[in-house]
């Protein structure tokens, strides 16, 4: 079985990448598996300056999923480069930085800091975070803004692959994917969380201090698959599939509809070794899908009747 995937200038030993915000900086999971075995690690969203994030409570459990409104708490890009990156096995596993900023220009500056870092394999541009009040979803819901941010990041990326992470909270995700492609993105990743909400009838208050938050987990997998399917029809650049993946079968479903690789998010909370177990289980799932390599399966969905 050939688990390798190559796309957008990346060569990954398998298609399993851990999703931003759900795997910390990778280091938190060293007790639970050999992180060098992962196809890639997208680190927690980084901003130019440190951010304290949103007030508590920030998370709520929902049926087959969860809401979060962390608000991109992070130590800032410089602390990441200084304190975390050197500890990560970046020669063996693609370390992907996830970028958050509140203006086109700030996205450029942030990119500039990371562009020169050998340990950073690619940049994932988060134009889709629903949990911040400036920027965030505003960018991700407007194709024109997506294009502008993409152009800016691409300009400052010094050749590093640029992946634009899209929001599902839009009428037409194909348009958004297309905007990223037009802006020069090397790949798109989708989906970020669905905008959701939970309330407590006892206290009559929202369960998140931020009122609304992002829905993730198995609950959203059908929406994610549909978005990847639509994006695959809209663009030619590679796609990273994200949303509700908890098993090797789930991962292959995204490959089948056209993804080049996948990101595993909330599943890391089911149990902290879940991403490793998905990798272990890929060969068995590939037998089921009757394919010898990931390439062989990619985009072979048969929609004829």
């Amino acid at each position: 079985m050939d688990l390798r995937v190559e796309f957008a200038g990346l060569v990954l030993k398998n298609p399993i990448i851990t999703a931003s915000g759900t795997f910390g900086f990778g280091l938190e999971f060293m007790n639970f598996g050999d992180i060098k075995r992962l196809g890639g690690i997208v680190v927690k969203g980084l901003s130019l300056k440190p951010r304290e994030g949103n007030p508590m409570p920030r998370i709520a459990e929902t049926p087959c999923g969860m809401l979060n409104a962390i608000g991109i708490q992070n130590p800032g890009v410089e602390a990441f480069v200084r304190d975390k990156l050197p500890l990560l096995p970046w020669r063996e596993t693609a370390i992907i930085a996830n970028l958050y900023a509140s203006s086109v220009q700030e996205f450029g500056e942030l990119t500039g800091v990371l562009a020169g870092e050998e340990g950073v394999a690619a940049l994932e541009v988060n134009v889709s975070c629903p949990n911040v009040h400036t920027g965030g979803a505003a960018f991700g819901q407007d194709p024109t803004q997506i294009r502008k941010v993409t152009e800016q990041v691409k300009k400052c990326a010094a050749g590093k692959p640029v992946i634009v992470k899209l929001s599902p909270n839009v009428t037409d995700i194909g348009l958004c994917a297309r905007a990223a492609q037009d802006g020069g993105a090397d790949a798109v990743s989708l989906i970020n969380t669905l905008l959701g909400m939970a309330v407590d009838i006892r206290t009559r208050r929202p369960r998140l201090a931020n009122v609304v938050g992002g829905l993730s987990g198995p609950a959203i997998k059908p929406v994610a698959l549909r978005c990847v399917h639509q994006a695959a029809k809209a663009v030619d650049i590679p796609i990273i599939g994200i949303g509700g993946i908890v098993s090797a079968e789930d991962a292959l479903e995204f490959i089948l509809v056209g993804a080049s690789a996948v990101e595993v998010g909330t599943a890391n909370f089911l149990r902290p070794d879940q991403s490793f177990r998905i990798i272990d289980d890929l060969p068995r799932a590939m037998l089921k899908a009757r394919c010898k390599s990931i390439d062989e399966l990619r985009g072979t969905l048969d929609v004829s009747r």
């Binding site: 795997f23 938190e28 639970f32 508590m56 998370i59 890391n268 089911l270 149990r271």
Partner: protein
């Protein structure tokens, strides 16, 4: 007391050995030994019964109540869907578990130490008392609402000086607060360790500050990962920075945390 050995912290699937047969909302869950003899009381684990499907997304954090060579024991109250399903487990059922997580309480051997437990906050002190090298230095003060029989208090009070105070109605609250404050004050040159609901911890923190007593508080928070990755469980530290309760706590020095 052995300091946390990181190589122990991994995911295991354990068998449930049997339940304590007390009042049904209060459950003692004993699992086969995961090799946690060296855990530090105050540490916790994340538990997820193998039979859960996907509809409960997260594991559930529970303090390690006690551990010996054969088994590890948790003590919990049924308060929602997760604990309800855990209470319905049958002997032989499997549970996914990762831990020991977080830090634990200090256990200086020759310091007068007052253990302040509110409700289920009693859980970690069971192992604390069992493992403490000099239990004669320990004093337990236990504040509770349900009947005392719901808790493993009797067994604990055989080993250390112990007293309990019950809040039967909200009218009893001032008495409870008074007892907590007194206990803190009386530990002037010693150490106060507290575990319980947030209002309880606030009382302890306030009293410790007022009387200049060294104190450690074990915090509760909703947790998704339990390992410091999701940033869902944070509290504010002394410098108003958000820190993870799971990884930087759950036990904090009283001065290092804003409640």
């Amino acid at each position: 007391m052995v300091v946390r050995n990181c190589r122990e912290v991994k995911v295991r699937e354990l068998r449930f050995l049997g339940a304590w047969d007390g009042p049904s909302d209060f459950v003692e869950l004993t699992l086969e030994n995961p090799g946690w003899d060296g855990y530090r009381p105050g540490q916790f684990a994340m538990l997820r019964p193998s039979g859960w499907g996907l509809d409960l997304t997260w594991g559930r954090p529970l303090s390690i109540s006690r551990a010996d060579a054969e088994s590890v024991t948790f003590f919990f109250q049924v308060v929602g869907r997760g604990t309800e399903r855990m209470a319905a487990l049958k002997a032989g059922d499997a549970i996914i578990i990762w831990g020991p997580l977080g830090n634990g309480f200090s256990a200086p051997p020759d310091t007068p130490t007052t253990l302040l437990a509110g409700g289920m906050g009693l859980a970690p002190f069971r192992g604390y008392i069992e493992r403490h090298p000099t239990p004669e230095f320990l004093r337990l003060v236990f504040a509770h609402r349900p009947d005392l029989d719901c808790y493993p208090y009797a067994a604990m009070s055989e080993k250390v000086r112990a007293e309990e105070v019950r809040e039967r109605t909200p009218d009893d609250l001032p008495v409870v607060i008074e007892r907590i404050e007194t206990a803190v004050r009386e530990t002037a040159n010693g150490l106060v360790l507290a575990c319980g609901p947030t209002p309880f911890l606030k009382t302890v923190q306030q009293a410790a500050r007022t009387h200049g007593v060294r104190a450690e508080l074990s915090l509760e928070s909703r947790m998704a990962c339990g390992v410091g990755a999701c940033l869902g469980c944070v509290c504010k530290d002394g410098g108003d920075k958000h820190v993870q309760v799971c990884a930087r706590g759950p036990v904090f020095k009283a001065d290092d945390v804003r409640l």
